[in-house]
């Protein structure tokens, strides 16, 4: 048994981290809020394509890097840390490997790899995060995976204004696969990507808060020296520290298609969702009033956290674990 990132995984993670620190600072996330600076956001997408990230999970013979889900976890954590305001996780971790696995009947993959085609994933109903920026939408419903071009687009105002969400009318054709295993794998990859981003967002909010309470002085001392503040942050850290290995383990389970992989993904989603939500509340509270403004950067990461955590479908994961543990399904009298 062994459970540590290897040197290659660390090197790739660090390269992504360094690039995003430079190219996706808080100002770039703000540029994605309306009216914003669409050109700056589009430039970031091209930078990510130049790194080869959209082919990360695509086999080498299809022009990708040939990485597995385990390798994606640290990368996606960095995407979360930077709150990249683009459908990076959707395109890189879900759509691109699906296109490769199905032989890319629509001929979309070259554009995805080149950074000219963005793919969003339809959420519940007709709400599509990044729908305003997406060329294609992946719909995972009714045991089918469809990749379609939207028919109509209506912008939606959202709490996290950098999500470019839209209500889309989608055509019913465009099935890429109805192989249940592959459709489930897409759903699991999407959940894993969300969990990993939540970990990164949590870390970002923790870093901001630790920095702030270490310098902000009240009663003649840094507020981070007060136990009431210290203990809340210790608890928030605890949640993140205990979620991280579970998310990494879920990535490994997916990469190796283990029998417990869906269960492991659910564990990861529950832990990461709780940890990130707790971190968001703690971060705002420990900042005080400055944390309750849009002038300070914290809200960028808290709002992304809420959006991603809400998209996870906590109940469905609890039901899945209930089934695995032979406990009754929810929703009974």
């Amino acid at each position: 048994m062994r459970f540590c990132l290897d040197a290659d995984q660390v090197a790739l993670r660090d390269a992504v981290r360094d690039m995003l620190a430079l190219e996706c600072p808080p100002a770039l996330v703000r540029a994605a809020w309306p009216p914003g600076d669409p050109a700056a956001v589009a430039a970031l997408w091209r930078d990510l394509a130049r790194m080869g990230l959209f082919g990360a999970a695509v086999p080498i013979h299809c022009g990708g890097l040939g990485l597995g889900e385990t390798d994606l976890v640290p990368i996606l954590t960095e995407v979360g840390y930077a709150a990249v305001p683009l459908p990076v996780a959707e395109t890189m971790a879900v759509a691109a490997p699906l296109l490769a696995a199905t032989g890319d009947p629509g001929g979309y993959l070259p554009g995805v790899l080149a950074g000219t085609t963005r793919v969003a994933i339809a959420g519940a109903g007709d709400l599509v995060p990044y729908g305003m920026l997406a060329d294609l939408v992946l719909v995972l419903r009714d045991g089918r995976a469809r990749i379609v071009e939207p028919l109509t687009t209506a912008v939606v105002s959202t709490v996290d204004g950098s999500r470019a969400a839209a209500r889309l009318a989608l055509p019913s054709a465009g099935t890429v696969t109805d192989d249940p295993e592959l459709v489930d794998l897409c759903l699991d990859r999407a959940d894993l990507a969300t969990a990993a981003q939540l970990l990164g967002l949590g870390r970002r909010m923790l870093d901001l808060t630790v920095g702030y309470v270490g310098t902000r002085r009240q009663f003649g001392a840094p507020i981070g020296s007060f136990q009431a503040v210290q203990h809340r942050l210790a608890d928030a850290l605890l949640g993140l520290e205990f979620a991280m290995p579970a998310v990494l383990a879920a990535g490994w389970a997916l990469a190796h298609r283990t029998g417990s992989r869906r269960q492991d993904v659910s564990i990861a989603v529950l832990l990461a969702g709780d940890a990130a939500r707790t971190m968001a509340k703690t971060a705002i509270q420990c900042h005080g009033a400055i944390g309750y403004t849009v002038e300070y950067d914290l809200h960028l990461y808290a709002k992304r956290t809420w959006a991603l955590a809400a998209s996870c479908g906590t109940d469905s994961h609890l039901d899945r674990l209930a089934a695995a543990l032979d406990l009754p399904k929810g929703g009974f009298p």
Binding site: M1, R2, F3, C4, L5, D6, T70, L206, V210, V213, G214, A221, P222, G224, S225, F226, Q227, V229, Q230, H231, L233, A234, D235, L237, L238, E241, F242, A243, M244, P245, A246, L248, A249, W252, A253, I267, L270, L271, L318, L321, A322, L325, D326, L327, P328, G330, G331, F332
Partner: protein
Amino acid sequence: MIDLVDTAEEARFRTSARAWLRANVPSPPLPSGDTREGFARHVEWERRLFDARWSVVSWPERYGGRDASLWEWLVFEEEYYAGGAPQRVTQNGIFLLAPTLYEFGTPAQQDHLLPRIAAAEDLWCQGWSEPEAGSDLAAITSRAVRDDAAGGWRLSGQKTWTTRGAFCTHLFGLFRTDPTAGRHRGLTYFLVPLGAPGVTVRGFGRLDGDEGFAEVTFVDVLVPDEAVLGGVGNGWRVAMSTASSERGLSLRSPGRFLATADRLVALARSRAEALSPRLRDRVIRAWVGAQAYQMFTRHQVSAMLDGAQPGARASLNKLFWSELDIELHETALELLGAEAETDTAWSRGFLFSLAGPIYAGTNEIQRTIVAERVLGLPRAP
């Protein structure tokens, strides 16, 4: 690299541990090891474990171990608790004192003490807290005075909340050897036979009513120089090494919590007709907590094998497992409904779990350690 399955060697180890435990774990379970009668039965069990070389698997063979890797030790712990094997009444010696002996003991101390610990010949308890020094451990006043004529040290003072002190044969603890030095300085770590003249042990009831606590009084107790572990005046550093073991992985491996979580799920299944959605979700989340602890420790073991020292991060373990243990038991009691007030393994386990956030440094102390030494926040005033 990540590989979360047993290697062939680990799998062989697991199979062989499981087979031995299946054939040997006492049934029905032993009475509580925190009673006089139960303790004696547990010591018999510990000697059987030792005879079969399962008492200290990760130790060198010359001390009665199997030279097992950290992974194999985790595997053994999983199998041990999954098999319903008894609590380890030797835990203070095996999991707390021994790691400290490996780090700070002289070769003579190691050769003499470690085999006796492994074989449950010497049964160790801790001597940290005093009536006026609990969380504030550096406030201890028990002292050791050099007696050059007798060639040793004379101990005086009182220790308390000493777990299983009434049944043990030896105590390790902190004594003040330099009354003029500052709080954390001038302390020395001593190894004391409880049978020495001048030692009085009085057992008393813990929250569960068992005589699991003791107060230990020292009146002019003479111990030789060999009773000093890690050097005169170095006691704080040595004690913190023991405390790190107590908070971290070595005392509380995931095996016991995984086993408790599985028993909780079995209990919930047996009451499926009365299981509300809320309680079902509580059971699932408690079970998820145990899985999280397992993944965390696996990650930690890998980091340790790569040379990382857990240090203050042991406080993260302690916070997590102690609160997880309470949650697992509270959830079980809620499942039991009105039956929860009866004396059962779950109600006893619940009372025991409440000690977790207190011993080894209260969780309030642990949160402060995490904040200051893991997060790097400014020190509390």
